[in-house]
Every structure is written in structure tokens, then in C-alpha cells.
Amino acid sequence: MMVEKSALVIGAGIAGIQASLDLANRGIKTYLVEKSPSIGGRMAQLDKTFPTMDCSICILAPKMIECFRHPNIDLLTYSEVREVHGSAGDFTVKVVKKPRYVQADKCVGCGICADHCPVEVPNEFDSGMGIRKAVYLPFPQAVPRVYTVDRDHCLDCGLCQSVCTAKAVDLEQQPVELELHVGGIVVATGFDVYEPFRITSYGYGKYKNVMTAMQLERLLSASGPTGGRIMRPSDGRIPRSIAFLQCVGSRDQRFGYPYCSSICCKYAVKDAVLMKEHRPDSEVYIFYIDLRVFGKGFQEFANRAKKEFGVKFIRSSPGEIREDPETRDLTLWYEDTLTRTVTSLKVDLVVLCTALMPRSDSVELAKILGIDTDKFGFLVPSDSVGQPVDTQVPGIVGCGYCLGPRTGDIPDSVMQAGAAAARVSEIIMARSV
């Protein structure tokens, strides 16, 4: 049988990027398909990463650029997989490149179009905390550096077209269908963040100073909407007291998901330390059920958060948050299960560490690929112990959070990406010998 010495990677977050690089460096032609305008995924949105406290995008950007310029990688951004046929060693894939309405080969990324665009839209990349224009680059380090017109919000005023000196804007652009032939497929579609509107007792969406952890990451980020300054959404004041709530929508059989999302305790400790670094006199509390700081170096880091930074850990899951209508301050009512007292705490800002869930379109994609998902929409490995990255379809493997919370954090995703690349190489190399 003829075996295609090529692979398809779906999703260009850190897992998909690493899988592509490991495949491409192995000599395998790799198509990296990403549905949004830029590669980078969730890691690009984060502020800092534990334990080096390096800014996340700073260590990710070189890898993004490496993907962009790698001779063995074909980057297909703003594209979606529509059909997959065939079997291991010989898949045929139909990919649709959605129209950006900006010609990638002409756009120089100067941003004049966005300066003139009259439409302002909440920026998805900032988890809705900042704004972008209808013609936009999601973030400054976006790869490729090509603007995209969001036609759902565009007024068709044509201003961008007339100011573009490179003549790159083309509002008549049509979708392009591509057919790819690949030997193996890596699925790396990542996660969505649970928006806890249903947990009404916490007032998310109603109280301005209650936000998700992803929104906080964008506030902390130097390239975020506030340029790295933490401000309360209600009045722009710097919060003096902050409470992190764990297990919002995870380990929760009523409103959310029964599983543990694996990473929230760890990033909450990191964010708590960052808050303390930003403002040492602030009070930072972490409300937890079990403090799950497992994994290399995390327990030691949590100890430092306690001892050196004075972060306070309270073993409790608050029952209710109330807002003072005047000051917009928040009062948490909770039972401290260690001192067995019911009490309250007033804070300036509440951060909800919410469940991570599969991408909303993960089931649809699984159908196209012919692979199984669990009741939540995560991919199911064919043998969760022995072959943890394989799906039921030979030749299709997964890595990163789309495999479920079994993934965990960035190093886990990077390792899974390597494992996925190894599985694809095994198939391609074994059959081509």
C-alpha cells in the first residue's frame, strides 16, 4: 500500500503546535489546521506560567513563528475540516479555508484598516474584557500577521478597503476548498471555559466584579485590555482583596461537570502569587474543597504561596455571594470546614475558577472523523491505560485537553503532543518500510 508521508493536525494551541513541530522535524509533511485567525490557542491568552513565571506568550511566540516558517509545515488558519475518508496511512481530508476578506499574500499587517474601522466588538481573545474592531488582528503576536474581517459585525462601509495601502482587503473573497492526502491525523482542539451563568448564587454576569479566571488572566497580561493593570470592572479601582473560588462547575453534579478539571488549583495558586507580587499589601484568599496542587514542583510552590506570600487558603465552597449595590463590593458566605464556623468575608473582586469543557464543536468534528466522544464531548482513548492517545480509528490520535481533563497542564499537553507525533510516525514509518 502507498503510505502518505504526511499528517494533519487539527487545532493549533500548544498541543497542536508541538505535535506539528515534532512531526515536521521528523521529516513528515504536516498540515496544521486552525479554525480561528491565528495560531497560539489558550496558552497565548495566559499571562505568566509557573514556575519560571515567564510570560506565556513570550515562550510560546518562538514556537508559533517556528511553525510559520517550517518548510515541512503548511499552516491553514481560519480553516475547518469538513470531510475525512480513508484509513490509516491513506486519509483524504477536505478542508475549507474561510474567507478572511483580506488577502493573506498582500496584507502587511500595518493595522490602518482597524484604526479606521468604526465598529467595536468585544474581543474573544480577551474573554470579552477588551474590545476589537470588525477588522482585526486578535492579538499583537498573532501568526500569521494577517487581518480578518468579521462579517457578522461588519457594516459593509468599505472604509477598510479604501484606506488599505496594500490593496489587501477583498470583501468579495470566497471560501476555498482544499483536498489533502495524509497518513495520520492528530486531533488537538483544546477546551472551552465554562461560563457559570447557571450558578445564580455566585452572580456571574450580574455582579460586575465577579469574573472567570480566564478573564483575570487577560487583565494580568501585559498585552491585555488594561495593559497588565488589575482593575475592578465596576469602577477601575485596583482591588485590595481578592477571593478565588475553586470547583465552580467542576466536581459539581448539579450545575456543571462531575470531573475535576485538573488545573484550577494550580493556576489559582499562581495567580494568587501574581496578585501578591503586583500589590503585596493585598489580601488574597483561595477557597477550595481539596487543594489539588499535584505535579512536579506544585506542592512546593503552594507552600511558598502560603509561607512567603501569605496567601490564605480556606477549605470551603462558599454558598452565596452578595453584592453591595453602592460600592459593588462582594460578600461571600461560607462555612470554614476546618474551624467548623459559618462566617462571611467581604472582598473587592471574586475570581471563579470554572470547569474546562470540550470545544462546543468537538462532537461535530468527532463525527466527521468517525471517532467516539464521551457524554461530555471529550475524545475517548481506545485503551485509556495502554494506548492513552489513540482513538478507536487507527491512524487518528489525540493530544491536549480535547482528550479530557486527563491532560492537565502545559507540560502534559506537550508530552501528549510528542506521544501523538510518535504514534503517527510509527504508523507512517512502519508501513512505508
Binding site: 515534532d22 522535524n25 497588565g228
Partner: protein, 577 residues
């Protein structure tokens, strides 16, 4: 000059530094970028090199550790030798450490840029040595990780030498009875893996064999194995380190371990269950985090308690000896305890099982496993680590355990048949020798250290050596398999390419000056210097560019390529200027 968003631009007045740089001799083009590492910044570097005929490029931004390769590659794309690139770190060494002194930080940034320009004048183009890479690998350790790595590499056509010090393959997995959360026999995983390994013609297995010596460098490691009285020589291109971890054994007397008969570790319990040595118990008590998470201060949790209550606890706490063990969380013990609790409940439904824990870390979908145990009426009791349970002998070979239940706020007594200690995976003492032989570092927790904790979790800091499984820290079986496959993926990249370019920052010996005293050979931590025919020579692929030889050579006969005295002195002079 990079603003790095506000990382630099929020402190240092970047436009002012840009203007200043224009005044420096030989500088013909300067610009500021929001992010120099973005595609826009990089294409501007490429364009400027061509447009202005630049023969040196300096980026003042962040750390060369993460970004130098990117900027060097950009220079190469524009036809400039990458060693003609210089980086000035005005973030870590300036804006971050002087975030409250913007004026001084701006002045310092100017100084750092001035130094970089001074050095750049003396930079010379360098050729990177190319080495051949042997397409065979050595895997150290025949547990689940080593076996997986070996099979993954062999399936891609590489020759693998698998070295195991024990007479049998299978590692710690073979000793486990069942595996969580599937509760399948461990033999279902390990036996097929051993069979695939031993029947694969690309894999040569050496059992009861140890490493005697490893020399050489990436692509060309020379290994000496010792099997019995016999020495064997191997030449391999890459090494996968899968030497595993040990199950920690508490010191005698800790929790009455080794003193009272019914106190065992989880691993011992598994082996006893497998051999059918456990009689139907009335009650089994498990204690989590014995010998792990020892660095924690839990008294903080008590700060809100009423004075007298806290004082009573505190007096108990102060009376307790400092716990022996490891500061990290071993990550697998919670699921392991639940697994054994479920097994006992399934074997003897009437038996009581209690688990004393401080945080139950059933991460991922293991939460289901926790629920399953609770449905089987396994009791979970949260104790305080600083008030360890007291274990005493009771009549009829039973054990009496007193533990403080934080949630109920009372001390509770348990009359048990067995007390099972959940002890962590821990590094082996032999790792120190192995680390020395391979010239790879161990981390503060005693496990082998990865090159970057986030982005290079299976690479060692030494090129050509990769870490798989629990040698790098506690992992369960699926996680070990994943890391082993990842390590194999990284090793296969090197071996498939067959050739490798290494950094040109190496020692260069001026043989006219060299007197062959051999000091460099003696000092070099990497064995990169050899005295041949009365003169020192450098093996470029071994040299890591540390400069020890150049600093100590009594004749000043050794120069570091890309870090010559002239370049460094020019920087120092610029700093003083």
C-alpha cells in the same frame, strides 16, 4: 528595540533609548517595535538587513535563552551569518528588576545597549560543526516507560539497546496487582509489552546489566555495560533515561512501621493481596501522604481557631518529631489507596475501610473513582498532618489508631486489623551516580531535571538524552506511557536526520602558544580537551562553551569562539564609558 508590550515599554523609555542608540558609532539603523518577536518585527529585521546592508544586528529585548534562536534564524534568512547577531537583555536585567525606577532603568538600558554595540563590532561569522548521528538508541530501564520507549523507536526502524539492572523486565508495574482506574490486572499491560519488546528484532535486551561508563556526545555516545563479569561496548546516537523511581519506605518506627506487624505500605498490601496472604479484615485504615508533602506548614489553617483549642493542638504539634520524607506530592497515592480500598470492599463487602487524607487529589476523571469508593462505603476522614495518628497495639493482633477528624472536630478511635501507609514514589540513590555518568542535572526534588519545565518536559539539558516516566517525577502508568512515547518522538527526530549542527561557541586552541601542559584536559567537565602530540585539541561536539579552559590556560592559548577576550573587554570598556 522591543517594548514587549508594557513589559519593557511600561518602565524603560524605549523611544529615548532608540534615539540614544542612533548616536552610537557604526549604528546606521534603529527602530522600536511593540513586539520584535512578532512576524512584523521579524520581517522588519529581514528588510532592514537587505535595505541598509547591515552586517551586525542587535535586538534589545528579553532573554537570549528563549528568543536568540528566533532572531538568529531571522538574520540567516536575510543572508547574515547568525553569529553576527547580538542580544541585549533590557527586560530581565533591567525593566523587571527596576520596575519602580523608570529613569534609572532607562539609563541602564542605554548602558546595556552601548555594551551590546561594543561587542557586536568584534563579532565574527562562525561555522557550526556538523556531526553524524548514529541511528541506534540506548534505553536505560526496563519498566513500563523503558519498554514503551524501546518499542516506539523500534517500530520506526531504529535499533534499540534496552538495559535493565534487574534479571526481569517489567519494573514496578510487575509488582502491582491491579491498575487504577480500570482495575485490570497489571499483567494485562506489562506482559504484552515485554513480549513485543523481546520479540522485536530491532531491540536488543540486556537484563542484569548495569552502566559502567558513558562517554561521547549527542549522536555518538560510547557506552560500556557491565553484565556479570563481562564488559560490553555500545555505540548509540541517543539515550532515553527511564530508570524509574522507588517506592518510599518509611523509617522504622514511623507510624509503627517495622515495629507492629499490621503496619504495611500500599505496595506491600498489593503484594500480600496478590499472594492471598490477607485474611478477611474487620477494618483497614489507610493513611495518606506518609513521607510526602513534608514541607508544609498546616498550622496556618489553625490561625482562625479559638485560642484554647489552637493552644491544645499546638502543644501536640510541637511534641511531634520532624517528619522524614519528601516535600512533593507524589500524585498517584490517592488513586492507589482508593484502588486498594475498592479491592478490599469487593473481596470482603463487610470489611470497613477508612482513609485518612489531607487533600484528596483524585484529579481528572479519577473523581468518578473516588465516587465509586464512597458508594462502596469507604470512609474518608480529613486529618491534620501535624497531629499524626497514634498507633498502639491492641489485643488479638489488632491495632488501635487514634486520629483527629477535622471535619467532625473530634478525636476518633479505630480498632483495625491493618494500617496501610500511602508512601510516595521517590528518587533512587543510584540516580546520583547515573546523573554524574550522563552529565545531566537532578532537580531539587531529587528526580532528573527536564530542560524546560513547560515546553521541554522530556528533554534533558544535555543534547541527545531524553527522560521518560517516573525518573523525572511521580507519574501513573498512562502518564508514564505518554512521556515515554514523547521521549521516543524527540529521540527519533535526531536519529532520522542523521546529521546535526552544534553550537559554534567552542574552545579554539592556538597551537603556537599551547605548551601541552594538560591543564585544560584536567579541568574540562565535558572531556572536550585531549592532548595529542604535545598540543591540546578540542572535540567540538563535546565542548559546551563554558570557558573554564580559556580562563585557566596559563599561556592564554585558548580562545572561546563567539566570546573572545576582545569582545568581552569591549563590553566592559563600554560599560565604564
Amino acid at each position: 528595540m522591543c517594548h514587549c508590550g508594557i513589559n519593557i515599554g511600561g518602565v524603560v523609555n524605549v523611544p529615548e533609548v532608540v534615539e540614544y542608540a542612533k548616536t552610537l558609532p557604526n549604528v546606521v539603523w534603529t527602530e522600536g517595535n511593540l513586539y520584535t518577536c512578532s512576524e512584523a518585527g521579524l520581517s522588519s529585521i529581514r528588510d532592514s538587513i537587505k535595505k541598509h546592508g547591515l552586517n551586525r544586528v542587535i535586538v534589545a529585548s528579553c532573554t537570549p535563552r528563549t528568543h536568540e534562536p528566533l532572531f538568529r534564524a531571522t538574520c540567516e534568512e536575510a543572508g547574515l551569518n547568525k553569529y553576527l547577531f547580538e542580544m541585549a537583555n533590557i527586560r530581565e536585567q533591567c525593566s523587571w528588576v527596576h520596575s519602580h525606577e523608570p529613569e534609572e532603568a532607562t539609563a541602564k538600558a542605554k548602558g546595556i545597549v552601548r555594551m551590546a554595540v561594543a561587542r557586536a563590532r568584534w563579532l565574527e561569522p562562525q561555522d557550526e560543526p556538523e556531526v553524524d548521528v548514529s541511528d541506534s538508541a540506548m534505553v536505560i530501564g526496563g519498566g513500563v516507560s523503558g519498554l514503551t520507549a524501546a518499542v516506539t523507536l523500534a517500530n520506526q526502524g531504529f535499533k534499540v539497546h534496552l538495559v535493565e539492572k534487574e534479571p526481569q523486565l517489567g519494573g514496578i508495574t510487575r509488582r502491582l496487582g491491579k491498575i487504577y482506574p480500570t482495575l485490570q490486572d497489571s499483567s494485562e499491560i506489562i506482559d504484552p509489552l515485554i513480549k513485543t519488546t523481546t520479540s522485536n528484532e530491532n531491540i536488543q535486551v540486556y537484563t542484569s546489566a548495569t552502566l559502567k561508563d558513558v562517554s561521547g556526545y549527542v549522536g555518538n555516545f560510547k557506552v560500556t555495560l557491565k553484565k556479570g563479569t563481562e564488559d560490553m561496548k555500545l555505540d548509540v546516537g541517543t539515550i532515553v533515561l527511564a530508570s524509574g523511581a522507588l517506592n518510599y519506605e518509611p523509617p522504622k518506627g514511623s507510624f509503627q512501621y517495622g515495629v507492629l506487624g499490621g503496619v504495611v505500605t500500599q505496595l506491600q498490601l498489593e503484594e500480600m493481596l496478590a499472594r492471598g496472604e490477607v485474611a478477611e479484615p474487620e477494618r483497614v485504615l489507610m493513611i495518606q501522604c506518609v513521607g510526602s508533602r513534608t514541607g508544609e506548614v498546616w498550622t496556618y489553617e489553625l490561625s482562625d481557631m479559638s485560642q484554647s483549642f489552637a493552644a491544645r493542638l499546638l502543644s501536640k504539634i510541637l511534641g511531634v518529631k520532624k517528619e522524614e520524607g519528601w516535600p512533593y506530592c507524589s500524585k498517584i497515592c490517592c488513586m492507589n489507596a482508593i484502588k486498594n480500598a475498592i479491592r478490599i470492599k469487593e473481596l470482603w463487602p463487610k470489611a470497613h475501610v477508612d482513609i485518612l487524607f489531607s487533600d484528596l487529589r483524585t484529579y481528572k476523571e479519577y473523581e468518578d473513582f473516588y465516587r465509586k469508593a464512597r458508594a462502596l462505603e469507604v470512609k474518608f476522614i480529613r486529618y491534620i498532618r501535624e497531629i499524626p495518628p497514634e498507633i498502639t497495639e491492641a489485643p488479638n493482633k489488632k491495632l488501635n489508631v487514634t486520629a483527629y477528624d477535622t471535619l467532625a472536630g473530634v478525636e476518633t478511635e479505630f480498632l483495625c486489623d491493618l494500617v496501610v501507609l500511602s508512601t510516595p514514589l521517590c528518587p533512587s540513590k543510584e540516580d546520583v551516580m547515573l546523573a554524574r555518568m550522563l552529565k545531566v542535572p537532578l532537580g531539587p526534588d531529587g528526580f532528573f531535571m527536564e530542560a524546560h519545565p513547560k515546553l521541554r518536559p522530556v528533554d534533558c539539558q544535555s543534547d541527545g538524552i531524553f527522560i521518560a516516566g517516573t525518573a523525572c517525577g511521580p507519574k501513573d502508568i498512562p502518564e508514564s506511557i505518554i512521556s515515554a512515547k514523547a521521549a521516543a518522538a524527540r529521540a527519533s527526530i535526531l536519529m532520522a536526520n542523521r546529521k546535526l549542527r552544534t553550537e559554534a561557541l567552542t574552545a579554539d586552541v592556538n597551537t603556537d602558544l599551547c605548551i601541552g601542559c594538560g591543564l585544560c584536559e584536567e579541568l574540562c567537565p565535558y572531556g572536550a580537551h585531549k592532548i595529542q602530540n604535545g598540543k591540546s585539541t578540542t572535540i567540538a561536539a563535546l565542548c559546551r562553551g563554558c570557558g573554564v579552559c580559556a580562563a585557566d590556560c596559563p599561556r592564554h592559548a585558548i580562545t572561546m569562539r563567539h566570546y573572545s577576550d576582545r569582545q568581552i573587554l569591549a563590553q566592559v570598556e563600554a560599560m565604564m564609558a
